[in-house]
């Protein structure tokens, strides 16, 4: 079964892929290795998982001013996500993605959804995102 939801477009773009839903916020400086896309925060529920090639669903980033750099670097070297779906308006993830899109001619979208919608997303779901911010969700079951 597939459903369509409308998200707020922070950075426009198209993407399709499999969701990786993080159960906690994450600092992309210190908690994340931008060299290979691995979550290295030992306290994080998704510790040692890789974000590469997934659509990363996360409430928001945390902490350091270094998050945009971590995002831009992982996107630059190809170890980053295909898109971001956020639960909050997160300037750090948005700006890191914008800079990578401009410098490396990428089209990584960043969308914002409500907390209620966020709860309906599960790791393994198939997501398709268009430039207007419509997300088509196909549950893995």
């Amino acid at each position: 079964m597939s459903i369509d939801i409308e998200a707020r477009v922070l950075i426009a773009g198209e993407a399709s892929g499999t969701a990786l839903v993080l159960d906690d916020t994450l600092s992309f400086w210190g908690g994340f290795n931008p060299g290979n896309g691995e979550i290295i925060d030992v306290h994080h529920p998704q510790y040692q998982q890789f974000v590469g090639g997934r659509i990363l669903c996360i409430a928001e980033s945390r902490g350091s001013a270094g998050t945009p750099g971590g995002i831009a670097e992982t996107l630059r070297n190809g170890s980053g996500p295909l898109a971001f779906v956020l639960g909050e308006r997160d300037v750090n993830i948005g700006i890191g993605t914008l800079v990578a899109n401009r410098l490396y001619d990428l089209e990584i979208p960043v969308l914002e959804v409500s907390t209620a919608i966020m709860k309906q997303l599960h790791s393994g779901d198939r997501l398709e995102i268009n430039r207007q911010g419509i997300i088509s969700i196909t549950n893995r079951s």
Partner: protein, 419 residues
């Protein structure tokens, strides 16, 4: 959002490609934060000079290649490496070390004032009360907002630089009067005065508030009138490590909080939390424990050590030396180091076995050489971050406890009323 003619020209590329990229970044940030206007800033503290991979270098090189200049005085944060001693972070590959150095030099070329410090507020030339500025490093954001009363949101990498290039930021959150009202009150007046007079108290308090207050602006009631800027720096750094506290008010002390009513902007106080010794005890436990392991070293200066902290250290140390086998690292800014050298203190400390480092810090990876095992620090920020990034076990103590432990070579804690 309506742009004025100059901003529109910037966005349309009429002032060059670097300005266009910078303006697009500012406008995108305004869109994300749903700001309705942009405002001028008068100063920026730049974090993007801290190396975190090739993308950082590509960004600043793009700006330089297309002729970017800075619209406002912009000072650099600490970098990943110490420019005057690249060897202190041995595990870095030569390529990383070289790129980290190139990045720092690129920001000098762009026109930044190379102060290389996370405590720029210790240097002459502070922004004024109410000035709109750009802060990036979390402790500096909190200190600028809370202690100086300048206005800044927490600007991440790239946005800090784009704001410095355009001189513009989205007019939202802490730039606006209503964004600065206190929303929760922490009362510390029941904590014994002797504890409130100890420098460690402020680190533990900042940690506890950071843990509890979420996204609300906290006010603190009951701080000693004689608490100093080093104490307020400790709250700033600790509160933005364990949590996200870009602004706090200290009633009767910080400039926007002469009274409770002014801190809360006459709004009713929705919630008051009385902090007690248990809260401090819990904070101290969360920031490390005193295991049986042998003490390996001391790390001070997170955020960078101030002149007055050096003065206290010199007095506490006297003519004694650091115990053999211990490492003792102290980080500070070049500016403060020059002041300390003029007093002859740097020499005294170096001869006692203290290694003074400028331009960078010690709490993050890759480890500064020799920093492993059980490390004692006076900094809640160091204690919060280091165990996740370095092969260390950490114990927090007051400055006096750190000094006594360093001299005796074993952990020496004061009998501190149950803490």
């Amino acid at each position: 959002m309506q742009l004025n003619l100059l901003d529109q020209d910037r966005l349309d590329g009429k002032l060059g490609k670097a300005m266009q990229f910078a303006m697009e970044t500012i406008v995108t940030a305004a869109h994300i934060d749903q700001a309705e206007a942009l405002i001028d800033i008068s100063f920026a503290h730049i974090d993007a000079c801290f190396y975190n991979g090739r993308a950082h270098l590509d960004f600043v090189n793009y700006m330089l290649e297309y002729g970017a200049t800075l619209a406002v005085p912009s000072w650099t944060n600490s970098g990943l490496v110490a420019l005057n001693d690249l060897s202190i972070r041995d595990p870095l590959t030569s390529r990383e070390m070289d790129e980290a150095r190139q990045l720092m030099q690129a920001y000098v070329k762009l026109g930044c004032n190379p102060v290389w410090t996370c405590a720029p507020y210790q240097l002459p030339g502070r922004p004024e009360l109410g000035a709109h500025i750009v802060g990036s490093e979390s402790n500096a954001v909190s200190f600028y907002n809370s202690v100086i009363g300048a206005r800044t949101n927490k600007y991440g990498d790239y946005l800090d630089v784009c704001a410095a290039i355009t001189g513009r930021v989205p007019f939202c959150k802490l730039h606006r009067d209503e964004g600065r009202a206190a929303e929760i009150l922490y009362d510390v007046s029941k904590i014994p005065q002797s504890i409130r007079d100890n420098d460690l108290f402020y680190h533990l308090l900042g940690h506890a508030i950071g843990r509890k207050c979420g996204h609300r602006v906290p006010a603190i009631m009951g701080l000693s009138a004689n608490c100093n800027e080093d104490d307020l720096k400790a709250i700033s750094a600790a509160g933005s490590s364990s949590g996200s506290v870009p602004l706090f008010h200290a009633i009767g002390i910080t400039p926007e909080a002469p009274t409770l009513e002014s801190a809360f902007q006459n709004n009713p106080i929705q919630q008051t939390i009385k902090l007690n010794l248990d809260d401090l005890r819990q904070a101290r436990n969360e920031l490390g424990t005193n295991s049986d392991q042998v003490l390996a070293g001391i790390a001070l200066g997170t955020p960078h050590f101030s002149y007055t902290e050096f003065e206290r250290l010199i007095n506490l140390l006297g003519r004694r030396c650091i115990a053999p086998g211990l490492v003792f690292y102290l980080t500070t800014s070049r500016h403060v180091l020059r002041q300390v050298e003029q007093q002859g203190w740097a020499n005294v400390l170096e001869q006692a076995g203290v290694k003074i480092i400028t331009d960078t810090c010690t709490y993050f990876s890759p480890a500064v050489n020799g920093l492993c095992g059980k490390i004692m620090t006076n900094s809640a920020k160091w204690a919060y971050y280091a165990p996740g990034m370095l092969p260390v076990e950490v114990l927090i103590g007051s400055l006096a406890e750190c000094v006594e432990s360093a001299v005796t070579g074993q952990v020496t804690l004061d009998p501190w009323e149950g803490l």
